[in-house]
Subunit: 622 residues, 2 copies
């Protein structure tokens, strides 16, 4: 409120905003595609932020004192890249590589290619939730005083995920978070729901506990005052709701429909109308010195140990191992989707309350918080029922595009949960996670294996997914056994093997029982525990195929995209493919006991043995 | 406000509520699992609704005048089933089959098994959005005056999807919608964010344009007045925010933590404390006579026709075919995620504005609206970029559990969209849809094929998914060609074929070009257009495998869960499996032209030909 802007500053800020507009127009024109009009509406907002409020060292993007900026309306990437140019981070020549093969300047920004980008955007309504995650890390973990700025479009406020994030930020009193809404009135196909009714947005944010400021988004002095007001607001996040015009500054496109995502029809005339090309350079404020001690409490890892023969649910082992990992590593944090008693994340919460985050029943925010914390170098484990991770599929997809290093853990996998019925059963989670780029997919069958995998996954690149089960299963491995990612365990093998059973998780125990039963009939079956579903242990599977001739895969999951398909990955390079029968859940389950469910789905020991018998008799099973 | 309740009525309503509590306790006790305490908090709310406000004919659940009731907090199913018993819809004996194998009374209710259930619940935050869809159908399509009642938990208000739905309902002035929030203060693992702060919820709903009423949820007279107030409120949806106690009525569990999802420890004592078993019967109000003419304007279908050799994007053909289908069928409605100009749904909007629904950038509500309208026998086509359908994965999963008949159409599939980059590219959509129960997955390569499939999918059971492409592709089929679901087209075949190329959509054209090029080298390749990805044409694939020995699959999708895996479905019953090479997108794309993208991903004609050459030389390709 008390910041004063003198006439010179005002003039310079306006000039800078015009430069950002001109450069947005130029970039899109060079590319032949892109979103200049969506960039032009927010140019004044960006200019004032860059020149007067952002504290950021472009030479040291990992500096712990840096403010964080997220362009939630990722399609306005020309504006972001124009700002990078003004800050001296990229050259004019690079600006004009926009959207070309090999350029770092993609249609929508990604941290995979640009060091100053916190998270990939382009799927709307995700920037704010991730900003909430970073701001939460700032308040409760990093304590270095940085501020998180997020520039949103007005159209994307229709996404529920924005309100999920708004609720979380308000509840957590994140006064280090500033959302800037570029209310340019026009979405892709036409007017938004609320047009230029700034109050409509203000009422909503206020209801969720935010401080709101409504301004003319083309008045640089008003913008400057609003940012200062946000900086001085304590105990609440601030949202600046700015009335703007799409395509501002060029009469032929300004505030007009039908011009979303298109270069300007006459770029040269537009640039002239905007006052021509400029070469202003902005000295962005440096951040204060700052240090974060992510692993200050790191020590020796003492994983829980289970006795073979005991019966322990893998979800229990998960909770115990996570708590132990939290003791050994100060950089591990745990996030819960309000089911921590079921997933056993509560065991971490009890031991490390300062690194435990309750995200309530809000799976998109759960994953966004993980992405935000990973961007700040924390090692998050976000856990809920595996079925409900589908709620965050698009967030996980974008996290994969970001190259975000997050651990996602889904409990209550499969029909074997029993009575609760299909809404609570994850039957498509392996398919979802396997199909995403660069993921690791792990599915343990016993407690010691779970504990080891919980520790191992922490240091993988990209998204790591661990699938746990509700019911108790026998401990079959010693606590000293190792389980490398990409490996498998051959639990039965002989020279007489006539087929191989491949399973993981609960069905591994069914497969072992089936092999026993087949053995009594004189049929030797190899059994492979495929705990690493992706990457898969190609060598062991190929050897089994060569030696035993045919395979039966069995999984508590739909037949598409799970363990059966993972096994086939070993054979899809043109080599001979073994005969294979895939046992999986093909029905729509109802309520029943776990044993009844496994039987009804045809994935219990009896069903496996029946399929194996038919297969070795060379009959066709389906 | 003006409804009067006399003393007798009040006493009876209280008795009925106690009966619902007792029956909830009994059902969970018989099952040995379930959520009685979550049922007990809402028993008074349910009793008053059933006895005094709901208009419903249990003998005729499809009656067009029936009010609709959705139990969004689906885990409170004992309460629902207790209400069914009180209404005479199920017997006491059936009530006690709760959660047993073969019972209709599942842990969470589904319309697949119970005719009075509108939509499957159990994944929280979905009941309200689906109710919004039904209420919208009521206001704008059915016009029969029914009201939609939805009972929500307080925990689930953390889900962004609730606010996506609240925004939609407020904007559409759905005064035929009543949400009842059972604010029992306790979630699964502990207190909710706002506890018993009813105002916190009221502020939020008011901001989204709702009329709010705050009451004591155990005061049957107050409940009755609130329902009457909702019924007399015009121009706005109403939310009744009711302060309740979890486990109300049984001292040992009432308002206590740690008792979620568990039968009462001493059911007999609890029943006694609640006044014992009762056998009250409720005569539920009958609905008024009503008729809906879904297909009043039905006529002859004149699909668009395209000339072979022309270049037309399948998204264009989709929009044109959908508009034509809307002309022929009065029951077809179109829903847009604010990208109708890109997906071409706008062509339907122009011709049939009364059956077009803009859902804005809110994919969960988009799918929920489709589910709601399908529940009212409309035939919805909900369309957005295929990548953004991942945002609604959990809603689609629940729709599959419901057995909902909806058409989902995703445009801009794959890397071939070009410059916009990975956030806009659907690369996992086939995997997502294939893994869901009972889905149909279609992926056309030309305009005439698209038009036919758009019409065909309307009459399938379950979820039908159509994948369209951004760029123009040559028309290769005549307008008279038929494309049955589960079929395929063999576009090249000879006795000399040494391998088979299997493709669909954009890569089909690349496969044809590769076959031409191989032909010039003396290698004959069969080419199959696998437009029906699920179900897949097993016979044709098996014949091709037998006759040509090996297969190359090629798809603009990740390698997991797409066309390659669909092809293998034909061989996973133990029969010999052909040698196979799967070409798919294994990289993380950036921005580039469509042709550059196809080449970089190794799925263009050149890459296909190279893989084919290696395969016929029996080398291993990967």
């Amino acid at each position: 409120m008390n910041t004063t802007v003198n006439a010179m500053e005002t003039r310079q800020l306006k000039e800078l905003a015009q430069q950002l507009r001109v450069d947005s127009v130029r970039a899109a024109d060079a590319a032949g595609s892109g979103h200049p009009t969506s960039s032009m509406s927010a140019a004044d907002l960006m200019a004032v932020l860059l020149a007067k409020h952002l504290r950021y060292d472009f030479e040291r993007p990992q500096h712990h004192g840096n403010d964080r900026f997220i362009l939630s309306k990722g399609h306005a990437s020309p504006l972001l890249y124009a700002a990078y140019r003004a800050a001296g981070a990229i050259s004019e020549a690079e600006l004009l590589t926009f959207r070309r093969l090999g350029s770092r300047l993609e249609g929508h920004p990604t941290p995979r290619r640009l060091p100053w980008v916190e998270t990939a955007t382009g799927s709307l309504g995700q920037g704010l939730p991730v900003a909430v995650g970073i701001a939460l890390a700032g308040k409760r973990l990093d304590h270095t005083g940085y501020r998180v700025w997020v520039l949103c479009g007005d159209s994307e406020l229709a996404e529920g995920s924005v309100w999920e994030g708004a609720e979380h930020a308000g509840y957590e009193h994140l006064d280090n978070l500033v959302a800037i809404i570029d209310v340019n009135r026009l979405g892709q196909r036409g007017p938004t729901r609320h047009g230029h009714d700034l109050d409509a947005y203000a009422r909503r944010f206020q209801a969720f506990g935010w401080h709101t400021v409504e301004i003319d988004g083309h008045d640089v002095d008003a913008i400057d005052r609003a940012y200062a007001e946000a900086e001085s607001t304590a105990g609440q996040p601030t949202v600046i709701i700015a009335r703007t015009l799409k395509g501002k500054g060029v009469e032929s496109v300004q505030d007009r429909e039908g011009l979303h995502g298109k270069p300007l029809p006459d770029a040269e005339a537009a640039i002239a109308e905007l006052g021509g090309v400029r070469n202003l350079h902005v000295e962005v404020q440096q951040p204060p010195p700052a240090r974060v001690l992510h692993a200050v409490r790191s020590g020796h890892l003492e994983l829980p140990r289970y006795d073979t023969g005991d019966k322990v649910a893998t979800r229990d082992a998960y909770g115990q191992a996570l708590a132990a990992l939290g003791t050994a590593r100060g950089d591990v944090v745990a996030l819960d989707g309000e089911v921590g008693d079921s997933t056993r994340t509560e065991l971490f919460a009890k031991e490390h309350p300062d690194r435990f985050f309750e995200c309530y029943i809000a799976e998109q925010q759960l994953v966004a918080t993980a992405v935000g914390m990973a961007a700040r170098d924390w090692v998050p484990y976000a856990t809920t029922f595996a079925a409900f991770l589908t709620r965050a599929h698009d967030f996980i997809r974008m996290a994969a595009i970001s190259g975000s290093g997050i651990n996602l853990v889904g409990s209550h996998a499969g029909v074997s949960i029993g009575q609760d019925g299909p809404s609570q059963m994850a039957l498509e989670d392996l398919a979802m996670f396997r199909a995403l780029y660069g993921t690791t997919v792990l599915y343990p069958c016993d407690a010691n294996q779970t504990a080891k995998l919980v520790a191992t996954m922490a240091d993988r690149e990209g998204i790591r997914y661990l699938r746990t089960s509700r019911g108790d299963t026998p401990v079959i491995y010693s606590p000293t056994e190792e389980f490398p990612v990409g490996g498998s365990k051959v639990l039965r093998a002989s020279d007489e093997d006539r087929l191989t059973l491949v399973a993981a998780g609960v069905t591994l125990h069914e497969a072992l029982a089936a092999a026993e039963s087949l053995d009594r009939e004189g049929i030797q079956a190899r059994v492979i525990d495929l705990y690493s579903v992706k990457p898969v242990d190609r060598d062991t599977l190929r050897e089994a195929a060569e030696q035993t001739g045919c395979l039966v895969t069995v999984e508590d999951h739909r037949e598409e995209g799970g363990i059966g398909d993972a096994v086939l990955d070993a054979f899809l390079d043109g080599r001979p493919v073994p005969r294979l029968v895939r046992l999986a859940v093909r029905t729509m389950p109802g309520s029943a006991t776990p044993a009844e469910q496994l039987h009804a789905a045809g994935i219990d020991a009896e069903s496996i043995a029946a399929a194996a018998r038919l297969l070795v008799e060379t009959a066709i099973v389906r």
